[in-house]
């Protein structure tokens, strides 16, 4: 581990100035990803600006009926928050499916979104990796790719983004509030992370020094009917092989008694499949306005997965995503279908 300086931030503005002005500076939140990377030699910041004392730890209702989540809110606190549990069960479930109790007590909302891939080659500095060492090659393409992407990958990188909550937030149309050297802006969460194309070294569209201050959830009453399903290699404490975040709103009338109801609105996002949380827009389009039947669920999954391009070890993810998506849709419409 390289020697580094440590500074505790007292205000967002000065923290941003400290980091933006120093290419070797980094924000430190819970440290559960960054400190590992420092030990492994993946990240070598010379200055850590600890942002955990900044007043970014509120969960508050917004005027439009949504919720604003401070970037420093710990994963465990957010998962347990009554507003999240009652209005956005998909997010609470995603939080609780991540990591372990100890890690969730430390991990923050902002840090979770910006955690980096778990690709084993990325994490081993003795192997080539375009994301860690641009131009060195991608070891996963012909290597251990069981956990890797089936959608939106490039010849330069097939890594997946590992965050669970990002998948739930993508489904919920969350926005991310970012404060940078030149002021505040916000963006859709689905625009925060990038696809790898020829620049896998860039996980997100953020500039050096940009500070995530909050994540906003829009008012979405029907998200009460939402769920997160994570499929993994062991029952707990494992990254997703694939995951599905879903929310469904059915037409009020529900059709005549005994008739299968029609889907009015639906949100689906996939985890473990791409370099970013994958909003399944093609599946959503297929489902909008159709009946909640197994055949329609399957058609939606097929529509989304038509572009899937597995690389070797991960071909199983295609049927796994399909089945999991169908299973979640059944669960969300069960009392009707």
């Amino acid at each position: 581990m390289k020697p580094f300086d440590y500074r505790r931030a007292v205000a967002p503005e000065s923290a941003i100035a400290d980091v933006a002005g120093n290419p070797e500076a980094a924000y430190l939140a819970g440290g559960t990803n960054l400190v590992d990377h420092m030990k492994l030699g993946i990240a070598e910041p010379r200055l850590l600006v600890d942002i955990t004392s900044l007043p970014l730890d509120e969960v508050a209702e917004t005027q439009d009926g949504g919720v604003s989540i401070g970037a420093n809110v710990r994963n465990s606190d957010l998962a347990a928050h009554p507003l999240i549990r009652s209005r956005y069960p998909v997010l609470s479930q995603a939080l609780l499916s991540g990591a372990s109790g100890q890690l969730r007590n430390l991990a923050t909302t902002g840090g979770n979104l910006l955690q980096r891939t778990r690709c084993v080659y990325f994490q081993d500095v003795t192997t080539p990796c375009n994301k860690r060492a641009p131009g060195s090659g991608c070891s996963a393409l012909e290597g251990y790719s069981r956990y890797h992407a089936i959608l939106g990958a490039s010849d330069d990188c097939i890594a997946v983004h590992p965050s669970d909550i990002a998948v739930a937030l993508a489904a919920l149309d969350a926005t991310v509030v970012v404060q940078g050297p030149s002021g505040e802006r916000s963006m859709a969460l689905t625009d925060l992370h990038r696809l790898p194309d020829s620049r896998p070294d860039l996980d997100t569209v953020l500039e050096h020094g940009d500070l995530i201050t909050a994540v906003r959830l829009p008012g979405l009453p029907w998200a009460e009917r939402s769920a997160y399903r994570k499929v993994r290699d062991r029952a707990s404490y494992a990254f997703a092989l694939v995951s599905v975040a879903g929310a469904v709103e059915l037409e009020d009338d529900g059709g005549a008694p005994g008739e299968v109801p029609v889907i009015r609105q639906v949100r689906i996002a996939l985890g473990g499949v791409a370099h970013k949380p994958w909003r399944a827009t093609l599946a959503e389009e297929t489902l909008r306005g159709v009946q909640a039947t197994h055949e329609n669920f399957r058609a939606a999954a097929d529509a989304e997965l038509e572009r899937a391009a597995p690389v070797g070890d991960n071909a199983f993810k295609v049927p796994m995503v399909r089945n999991t998506m169908i299973s979640v849709l059944h669960e969300l419409t069960r009392e009707y279908s």
Partner: protein, 692 residues
């Protein structure tokens, strides 16, 4: 021969005597041993799998504040004996596997040492390495013998003819992956050279074995190496014999100006230097009549070793004694690769070697339409098929029957894929378990009466298994006193020599020495000894070992649920029934059995060291990527045992229990997964993708 002990303290579930010290953090593991002004070592490891080191630039590392010295082959101690290719580090420029130690940095803090190690730049002359195991290689080769001294191949009768003539033939290939022993406590050694020689605080399964292994390597008389290891946080075989990190830290301690040097391997480092279970490829052929009576068993194993040191797992050895069959062949072939050195991991041989055959027995039962328990019972041998000796205590059938009763096996509908619990397909499976009941002669116990207490000392080890507690119980019964009248000392070469904590031999071997010493002590000094009365006695050889085939047995039952859409798999229930002789302490024994079964569950569902043959490394080398069971994976699990005393197993009547709990567990789970899903998975681990 030592007389059988009368069990008074033995058999009671007293709490761990070292428990309070452990949970309050006051039990000194190797790293916590108080030493003066320690320095810290961080290794430098090769980043190629085969070739030569052409240059090591240590200048940047040396320039770092707080660095005491940089160790390379240029300043490393010359070893007297370099015949062990694993231990002979830093003697020349050759690299034999990726991750091999080629240097180290000694510094004032562990952080400085680690940073400086990253600053050492190494250049190589790289050669094309070979790290790909397959059964199709044309250079597979037969070792002279396999681990524990067993013959490489055996043949009885004419298995090929018997297979050709068999009414039912099962011919399948099963594979088990490489797995890494991951004890909770890192592999840790603190080394210091003093006027008296080398002092080591080591995390080891045998202090006396460490010094016996190291003495020739360093060219030291045995008395000049002192090893202390009172508490060990798990070993599973990987701390059985010293690995190269012990050599490295001893070398470093020569460059520290006399200061003690501490090394604790990181989790990542463990994956290349602390041993592992070889992957195995097992072709199993069973020939049987229509009722499932075996006529032929053939078990051909392909596995790997490192080119720099041979380790040949005895995978097919249990097949030699498990079931009756007139015709039988077992073989072991090795791929010699440029990979880290495999070694012992909990139940070497039996653990992987009972996977293929016990799944094959399930396939045979199905092919014959016979209950899987019944098919095993029908093939019960009357004498050991290999040696022709009678079994000392073979209670496999009793374990199977008792387990069947408790598990509710009788109601089982043998058809696969017909039970649904919500979205989960459910099934049950069974497999046999066995482990040799060995004890090692030659351990010595000393008893000294002082301060009103019987001080019992023996250089044994407690890996978290309960040795502190159970040996105290044994000593109490050997002396006819209460547990509170005994003060035990273990884990130090200053104490009388003891055999290794390995092969499930510890309790029987050390306990016999204590029983012998107790008997002699009482004969010599009576029941009212005086202060200072003292003697030593050695465990005699167990004469029964030459007359009987001595094995423990067990039956593993599993209930498995597999999600019909996602393929996720859960072991909802597990029961192990074991026959292991006298159980000296039910509390610690249960924990051993359950621990073994949990590790077997991990073997079934999770553990998989993924070798990337292009690099020669295990790529998933940390606990986030290398999975062992989490609490949520271990649901309803129980272990019970037959109430028995093995009259052939020495004065304690006890056989070892550290390993049998893992044996057969993976096969039972795989068999249950088949029963649940109709999908026969023959390659471990049973991950969700295999059931889609």
């Amino acid at each position: 021969m030592t007389a059988p002990l009368e069990a008074r303290a033995m058999g009671s579930s007293i709490e761990r005597l070292d428990g309070v010290a452990k949970v309050t953090g006051t039990a000194p593991y190797a790293w916590e041993q108080p030493v003066e002004r320690p320095a810290y070592l961080h290794p430098v490891q090769s980043t190629i799998a085969l070739g030569r080191v052409t240059g090591i630039d240590t200048s940047a590392a040396e320039a770092l504040d707080g660095v005491i010295a940089v160790l390379t082959r240029h300043n490393a101690l010359r070893l007297e004996d370099t015949s062990d290719g694993e231990l002979a580090i830093l003697q020349d420029d050759a690299v034999g596997f990726r991750g091999q130690f080629i240097g180290g940095v000694i510094a004032e803090t562990p952080e400085t040492a680690r940073e400086a190690a990253a600053l050492v730049t190494v250049t190589y002359d790289q050669e094309a390495h070979d790290a790909r195991l397959s059964a199709d290689r044309d250079d597979l080769d037969a070792p002279d013998q396999v681990n524990a001294g067993f013959p490489t191949d055996t043949v009885q009768g004419d298995p090929d003819a018997a297979l050709a003539g068999a009414a039912v033939v099962i011919d399948r290939t099963y594979t088990t992956p490489a797995e890494h022993n991951n004890p909770m406590e890192p592999h840790t050694t603190v080394a210091q050279w003093t006027d008296n020689g080398l002092v080591l605080y080591d995390s080891t399964q045998g202090v006396h074995q460490v010094r016996r292994a190291l003495a020739p390597v360093f060219g030291l008389p045995i008395e000049r190496i002192h090893v202390t290891s009172p508490h060990v946080g798990g070993g599973f075989g990987s701390k059985g014999l010293p690995h190269s990190h012990v050599i490295l830290v001893a070398m470093a301690a020569q460059l520290s100006g006399g200061r003690p040097v501490k090394l604790a391997l990181t989790r990542q480092q463990l994956f290349s230097v602390a041993g592992y279970r070889t992957p195995t490829i097992q072709r199993v052929r069973l020939g049987a009549d229509r009722e499932g009576r075996l006529t032929a068993i053939v078990h051909d194993v392909v596995e790997q070793t490192s080119k720099i040191k041979e380790f040949a797992e005895q995978t097919a050895v249990p097949t030699r004694m498990m079931y009756a069959a007139e015709n039988r062949r077992t073989t072991h072939r090795l791929a010699r690769l440029d990979v880290p050195v495999p070694s012992w991991m909990r139940a070497p041989g039996e653990c992987p070697g009972m996977f293929g055959p016990e799944v094959a027995m399930d396939e045979l039962a199905e092919a014959c339409g016979v209950d899987p328990i019944e098919v095993r019972v029908r093939n019960e041998p009357h004498i050991d098929p290999e040696s022709g000796r009678p079994f000392a205590n073979r209670h496999l059938v009793a374990c199977l029957r008792e387990g069947a009763r408790r598990f509710g096996w009788e109601q089982r509908d043998h058809r696969p894929r017909v039970r649904l619990d919500g979205d989960w397909l459910a099934g049950t499976g069974v497999a046999s378990s066995t482990y040799p009941a060995r004890s090692q002669p030659g351990s010595v116990a000393r008893i000294r009466f002082a301060d009103g207490l019987f001080n019992v000392s023996i250089g044994a080890a407690d890996l978290g298994t309960g040795t502190w507690t159970v040996l105290t119980q044994v000593a109490a019964d050997a002396l006819g006193v209460g547990v509170g009248d005994v003060r035990l000392e273990i884990g130090d070469t200053a104490l009388p020599k003891a055999s290794i904590a390995g092969g499930s031999t510890g309790l029987a071997s050390w306990g016999t020495a204590i029983a012998e010493a107790g008997e002699t002590f009482l004969t010599k000094y009576g029941t009212e000894p005086e202060d200072g009365d003292e003697l030593e006695a050695a465990a005699p050889k167990n004469p029964a070992a030459d007359e009987y085939a001595m094995h423990s047995f067990g039956a593993q039952f599993a209930e498995v649920k597999v999600h019909r859409f996602t393929g996720e798999i859960r072991v909802s229930r597990m029961l192990g029934v074991f026959s292991a002789g006298r159980i000296v302490n039910p509390r610690t024994a249960r924990s051993q059995f359950l621990g073994g079964m949990t590790m077997g569950l991990g073997m079934a569902l999770h553990e998989h060291s993924v070798m990337d043959p292009r690099f020669g490394i295990i790529v998933n080398h940390d606990f986030a990527e290398y999975h062992i069971p989490a609490n949520a994976d271990v649901l309803d699990m129980d272990a019970i045992w037959l109430d028995e005393v093995d009259e052939h197993a020495g004065p304690l009547g006890a056989r070892g229990i550290g390993e049998i709990g893992i044996v057969g567990a993976a096969a039972a789970i795989a068999n249950a997964a088949y029963h649940a899903t109709g999908v026969r998975v023959r390659d471990l681990p049973l991950t969700p993708d295999k059931f889609l």
